[in-house]
Symmetry: D2
Subunit: 372 residues, 4 copies
């Protein structure tokens, strides 16, 4: 269904930017996983507005309440419901938008789909909907920590506009990313990126960019052949984040300009472990993880809301103009980082449980045939 | 499940490159749709090997048989099963591969996942699996033709290696694409692309590229908010095709280097219809179609099988080398075109039925509020 | 997943008897359906404890709050979240039960399943979980009222212990059922049933019984062949209600003692409408509704909690005894009536939307072939 | 979807009684399970017509062919497709039925649903559709044999018309059931039941009855709280079999006439194992297996096709009469036994894999708390 994802670790989000709140229900979480409200809150705080000088100053406390499914600090195996009340609502900032379609927003398409729309804020298209995803992913990461020792997801801003970060996939740490407000992996790019965002904001303009994500110590064997390939599910998960326009794994679009000779990743033995010399595959072969780092990038378009006058039409289908108001991010990239990590955690957690159903365990290495 | 896709128009493929055959079951197809074995055969012939001098000479007749769900030339509303027997099997060409992991293939990951593998050919990772998808899509296109008059999907090769086609999205026709064996949309690129493929083949090397796809006259309102966005489902569908590494819709990765001012698509009235001046959105806003052409690109890596010696390991986990043998495409792009179209048709057909469940009809324009 | 049901009109419940509350999210509800908090509250009040002298005196206000998916009194097409806070919690009444398995309850099986259990109250096995279902069904009934004019679901107590109600399926009304606190359809049985329940309660014992349900004006054509037959889905829905042990449709088990001659329902023309002379089929043939009243019965075992000492074992696996305490229904049947209606509404609503996806409309009569 | 069932061990059947054949695809089967065509054939032979003097003489060879998913005698973890060609088709026996609705068959409801029908034979409503289920269950039973040692499903005819079998749940064996052509568990009832069936057939009449099923050594902990209770899924599975009208588990409808005192199953320790003194629960508490034998009964109505003239209407909606012709079972009960076993195996296998996903293992006993 439209608001649920995952086959075994299944989450359902609900809620709009304006209304009683937003939330998520997690169904299929294994029992006995230690989780606290603080674990969830920590991740929510990374995605919320108002964290730094370069994101929207809208101050949303985003206080998470676990309503069910956790008893004495551990998951019970039954649905975990998390609620975040809406607080800082200024629907007056949006009245004009009630009757004018914001260019490159979802206003017109929601009307086309439903014939009807909650015009207060962005409805379900609001980035606020991602609160439920981030909360659910906090639980997914706890599950993965038990299933796959050393499992780690690190995302960072790899470009803003035409500024590209230079990041070493093998050494980058979450601490390095979190140490700067842009959440880029390249210290040399922090100041230029901040300056570029401030410049766009001062012009009432906006910027896009890319987020790269590394998943380390993902066991080999996750992902299903054919339709539910792990990279196919990651692609869908990333394109489900607001404002995304592209996804690539491993060599991605650049790989199309290589020959097979250049592109292929030779196998070799690293002790008892099968490894590849390079990682153009991005950790996925035939839709199944091969034990190398899973590496992918997601493209975010520039924020649609700009503080400049734009041509548009009214919901009465008459020509008009619209100038954005209210408090918006000139660049969503820093706040997109935890969303990318969250969606990645949800995808991998679901596939880990699917593999456990199939084999009784995950992270199995292929058996070594006996020699005669 | 791994081998099924779609929520209402749901297909399940089965079969390996070696064994009894391959096929598909389509569940949820509306009744009364005219379909013949020839309709399906026509599409299968476009994807099969042996069509031209630049694809693998392996000659697979790929004769489709409709086993159920069609009566007196029309769908009955019950499952449509399609069977294609395997014919031209030379498993001896693969014996060496039984014990050596082909670099950048799915051999190792299948062993890691299942602890066991049908090493004759590529198993489920074989491009032969896509026969079922193409057969199912032949039916989906018939359904869409009834639901959405003028609906049209056209895909073409937009690049091979570093050769880029220059194509006008508005005027390109299926006939133009099918008129050349590369299936590119740019007549000027036909000969250079053919020459480049032949050159790679003669070196035992391989090439990748991109396929662009245009969906015309897709009604506004298709796609679901949040997880099942139509572009998210297209992304997953494309990444489920063998050898794909990336997906982008509308402006895609290039859009990340624009400002919001440049990127936003202003609305205007084109008679009674709401339209956008540009189409950086690629026909999708907030995950829902807006009535403009849906435009997306898919990246295909160079074919993994090359006729050169490569470093690898055996299934006994010892270092070894492997040189590809058998008959393989040096470049899958021409044959990927019908696969891209097929997956796109399946995604849109499913969303069209979902919208019909929600509203009783599709293609509804948003109501125009009455003026007082 | 365990806590979700429905393919297009999909609900997910969450929450335990003790904890932050209980609730439901409805995904896939068509837009534009008028619904208020009061509509939901009305149905919740019918299922809650404390309504009359024969149900548990536990007083749960069960105040429903719609958190999302409704705007200006109408559904928006996006998820509708409903929350009911837990209030009257006396977990001390249950401490003994923390360590002793209550016979014929779910205490032991939850421990067997999860290795861990929220022992405060019944957890997810509590009848309190059904609040979410009843709330969701209030919305489903609104949808059905728009899709199928005259659509009506009436359930009533058809037996308690060995007291059987004599009810005319054609004439019974919801008002007649609601007019007595037992919710039986036979006025002559009201006093005997009340007396029987009071007698059982005074002995610390409990009683079971059956609920019969009539669905009127359900369009022909709902239900899917093979696995998702409408009566199969009703069977599953009924067996998902706590304390149920059986389901039968139409002639049910009694029909097994008829011959085909006696059992078959001859068709005849009633004006332009195809009807059956009898209704042993219970309104369903081949898993698909035929336009006659759908009639089914559900068996409820006697309440497991009794105020008498019973043999059991502790969670430490030692022999012990347990005597129920707290406030419990000696007979759940009166409160089961709205639960049966709710589950029936959810099943039919889902199938109505599935049929609309397939045909663009529901309630289509089969076309009459033209005569030459 | 209508023709698929199961969440992890998922099967999709296809095919009509007339057409290319019938079959099934099994998705989600664990790899490495030994299975042969003969294993499947053995079970198919138990359900096919023409086995004995009391079932339809129609001779269907029902030769199963495994098309995919099995390599060198073991499942590969990828979809297993099984095909059975249609052979003995006499569609002329049905021409009359093309235009006249057979009473209590699915002819009219299929027309109502689809506006269109394959009138050759029963289409998807034919018992022939169950071939796919029985084939899939042969695989499911192999999986269960590996997951749950000692696991056993035994079904038998517990009544025909008003003749009731007296069977000891604890001692009945599959060999005893298979030793008589009625497949009843009570030797004393074999001759009376055969005589009753022959009598009905000689009159052109038909009979119904009940099938009881015992599942032994099912691990405790299978089944999900709330909607996917194991008995709810069994109820749905049984009601999906053609001609069924009822389901009851454990005490069933008879249990509604007991008091709680009589009905409750006290727990006691049987060595290290928690057991119940009685089994009114039928092996299921709160929708989850408790380790005792799962016991349930399914009601089958008398066969709808009778060789007597019946009132009906034509598809042109005119009054007419119809007399059955062709070769039909006067009583489906003997052939229903393997169908009941098959559906039970599919349900339990799916739940076993779901439990393994949740816990990494099945058959876990609840942990015994340590004493201080």
């Amino acid at each position: 269904m439209s608001s649920s994802t995952g086959h075994l670790f299944r989450i359902s989000t609900w809620g709009e930017s304006h209304g009683g709140g937003v939330g998520v229900t997690i169904d299929g979480c294994p029992p006995g996983i230690a989780i606290t409200q603080e674990d969830i809150q920590h991740d929510l705080d990374r995605r919320r507005p108002g964290q730094s000088e370069i994101v929207t100053p809208r101050n949303e406390a985003d206080k998470a309440e676990i309503l069910s499914g956790v008893f004495e600090g551990k998951t019970t195996g039954t649905p975990i419901a998390v609620l975040v009340r809406n607080k800082d609502q200024r629907s007056d900032a949006y009245t004009e938008m009630a009757t004018r379609y914001r260019p490159s927003h979802a206003d017109y398409t929601y009307d086309a789909k439903y014939g009807f729309r909650n015009w207060q804020g962005g409805g379900r298209a609001s980035a606020r909907e991602t609160i439920g995803r981030v909360a659910a992913a906090a639980v997914a990461k706890k599950v993965l920590a038990e299933l796959a020792p050393g499992f780690e997801i690190i995302a960072y801003v790899s470009s803003i506009h035409d500024l590209n970060a230079d990041v070493d996939h093998d050494t980058i740490t979450a601490t390095q990313v979190e140490a700067n407000i842009v959440r880029t992996g390249d210290p040399a790019m922090v100041e230029p990126m901040i300056a570029r965002i401030k410049e766009a904001r001062s012009e009432g303009n906006s910027l896009g960019g890319t987020v790269e994500c590394i998943i380390r110590n993902c066991p080999a064997g996750l992902g299903e052949p054919v339709f539910d390939k792990i990279d196919a599910d990651l692609a869908k998960a990333m394109l489900s984040i607001p404002a995304t326009k592209g996804f690539e794994v491993g060599s991605g679009f650049a790989g199309t300009r290589m020959t097979g000779r250049e592109h292929n990743d030779p196998f070799y033995m690293d002790g008892a472990r099968v490894r590849t010399r390079k990682n153009h595959s991005g950790g996925v072969q035939g839709g199944i993880s091969n034990g190398e780092a899973i590496v992918f990038r997601t493209a975010f378009k520039p924020t649609a809301t700009i503080m400049q006058e734009q041509e548009t039409v009214s919901s009465a289908h008459e020509s008009t103009v619209l100038k954005g108001r209210g408090r918006h991010d000139a660049c969503v990239l820093p706040r997109a980082v935890p969303m990318v990590e969250a969606m990645a955690a949800l995808v991998v957690c679901d596939h880990a449980l699917r593999q456990r159903a199939l084999r009784g365990d995950i992270g199995l290495q292929p058996p070594v045939p006996q020699k005669d």
